[in-house]
Amino acid sequence: MKEQVTVSKPGLIETHLEAGGKTQSEVAGKAQPEIVGAIHAEVPAETPSVERFKLVERVQHLVLLTTFLGAAFTGMPLKYKTSWWAAPLMSTYGGVWIAGRIHRFFAATMLLLSVFHLGYLAYYMLVKRISPFKMPLFPTWNDVKQVGQNLAYFLGLRKERPAFTKFAYYEKFDYWAVFWGIVIIGGSGLVLWFPTLATRVLPGIAVNVALIMHSDEALLAVLAIFIWHFYNVHWNPDIFPMNWTMFTGRISLARLKEEHRGEYQQLVEDGVIRPLGGAAGHGHHDR
């Protein structure tokens, strides 16, 4: 397959399916041609790929992952104060007080990121007039059905994965888990950061509740990231050592066909991409 597919495909929100009800050729024509692979060394030039995440979305992910790790590593020793690793970790930061300041720095950056992301969503809703219900991360009834189908596939009861569209249910889960997590951890974190201000409005017990919420939800977040998310993007034997899509922004057609068959088929139908040869879709994966 020497042919290059030069479609720039919109990211989290815009898909050709929802881009204002335009015809396929309009969408394809509007897309800006790019030389695939030229700017991303991870994707060999001959590998046909499409854009999955826009630069602004990739940057958001990078900021999120940095601030998440920073906050997690400075916060967890406090939660597990008596563990063997807690005190040494704290002392490498220069003590509890300094760790607290570092934690707040990352937390504040993450909250700013969240505000930016809400603005990003609002921009698409208000300026580009895309209904949130039509955004590809919005949960649908189809997702529920696909959970059953996918589990059946895992158990060998189905031969193929469900025809996932741009985002499969487990990817939507990751997005909304972060959404929920930031509301819970960020909200409770602000109460803990400014307890005297918070108690002007809230009763005293709210600060105790905030501490439980902050600490327990953080554990859930850390476990979800290090077990679940890391499996999906690192440890999975199909993916190991790493899925670079969130950093390069591009996904190979082979992987797209494998993991997002619904979206692949739609793109082919719409004439955005040419179908892969029979051999390319099966068995062999490009990163």
């Binding site: 939660k79 104060k81 589990l151 158990l155 600060v207 105790n208 919420m213 679940w228 499996y231 199909d238």
Partner: protein
């Protein structure tokens, strides 16, 4: 040996020293000689003469004036001798002051013969056990080195506190036990007065056997530590937790407790809010943790503390469904949420893993 020379350790030396003291006192009191006679005589000969006179073997011989005196003439000799003595006194004072300044040790202790006797038995390891005034079994061994390093080791001896214990075998009477227990108030009456009014003190003054701490329960008995150190401060919650274990556990779940465990020194410990010696029940209006006084108590550290802020549970127990129902249910909710979500994700992950491996084998052409 530098300054420690002053710590006379053998009983013999001690006796000699006290005899000297007696001599000097006698000389000062003029019991044996009057001043005019003594001042022309050197110290050594004076003592010898004194000894001789005291033993009655020889009559007083100092009235003979030395030949030098005659040679120099009366007045000049007097001035010269007085000047020399003054010089010696000044030099001695300077030397003592200098050594004291260098070693930074203002108190020197002279061990009494009696104390040495105590450690002969009580200084040996595993000397056995006895019962204290509460009937608790305690060790009879006292570590001499540790005692001497303690706050009191520098100037108290055993019988300062264990007054009346002067016979072997000791007479253990209720009076003796009481003396030891109340020994602290001899030197620290002000602290005792404060303590008496506290919740702890009210119990122990009414009934010494009441389950409430007196001085030694927090400060220790033989190895009293300085309380202003970071180490003692960090140890306070554990100390109080020996009885108030429920509160201690709750405290450890709050930021104060967690940060304290990891070495932050400026977080509040028990005594910062409850005070060290005048802790009282919340219902007592004088208490620093009474509802009316809490804003002020929290405000010591938390600028802008208000009434709601002061009602934050400072040592809550999440497991206490009746005492803290909101915290109990919040905790339960998050525990169920966390573990059900993680279990579901792990299950999904595991099934995915199995299927991925199976697919990979099939692709390689192997059998499943």
């Amino acid at each position: 040996m530098p300054w420690h020379v002053n710590r006379v350790t053998s009983p013999e030396t001690h006796v000699r020293r006290s005899q000297c003291v007696t001599h000097n006192a006698r000389r000062r009191n003029g019991e044996v000689y009057d001043g005019t006679d003594v001042k022309f005589i050197t110290n050594t000969s004076g003592v010898q003469a004194l000894k001789a006179e005291m033993s009655g073997t020889q009559s007083v011989g100092f009235k003979k004036r030395p030949e030098t005196m005659i040679l120099l003439g009366g007045e000049k000799m007097k001035i010269w001798r007085t000047g020399k003595r003054l010089l010696v006194v000044v030099l001695w004072l300077a030397a003592i002051g200098g050594i004291a300044a260098i070693t930074d040790l203002s108190i020197s202790r002279v061990a009494s013969a009696q104390e040495l006797d105590c450690f002969t038995c009580h200084g040996t390891p595993n000397f056995g056990t006895t019962k204290n005034f509460r009937g608790e079994i305690v060790s009879k061994t006292v570590n001499k080195t540790k005692f001497e390093k303690s706050v009191h080791g520098a100037f108290l001896t055993c019988t300062t506190c264990h007054a009346g214990v002067d016979k072997v075998p000791h007479e253990i009477t209720p009076a003796n036990l009481k003396t030891a227990r109340d020994a602290c108030l001899t030197c620290h009456p002000d602290v005792y007065d404060t303590y008496k009014t506290s919740a702890h003190g009210q119990l122990t003054t009414q009934n010494p056997l009441a389950p409430a701490p007196s001085c030694a329960d927090c400060h220790g008995n033989h190895y009293v530590e300085r309380t202003k150190t970071a180490a003692f401060r960090a140890d306070v919650p554990r100390l109080c937790g020996k009885c108030h274990d429920n509160r201690y556990e709750g405290y450890l779940e709050t930021y104060h407790g967690k940060a304290g465990v990891l070495g932050r020194k400026d977080v509040a410990t028990c005594a910062d809010c409850h005070t060290a010696h005048s802790m009282m029940a919340v219902s007592d209006r004088r208490s620093t943790v009474a509802m009316a006084n809490r804003v002020k108590t929290c405000g010591k550290c938390h600028e802008g503390a208000n009434k709601n802020f002061a009602s934050i549970a400072i040592h809550p127990h999440e497991g206490d469904a009746k005492g803290y129902p909101i915290l109990f249910w919040t905790k339960l909710f998050f525990m169920v949420l966390t573990w059900s979500v993680i279990a579901a994700l792990m299950g999904h992950l595991f099934l995915n893993f199995i299927r991925t491996i199976v697919e990979k084998r099939r692709e390689r052409g192997g059998t499943v």
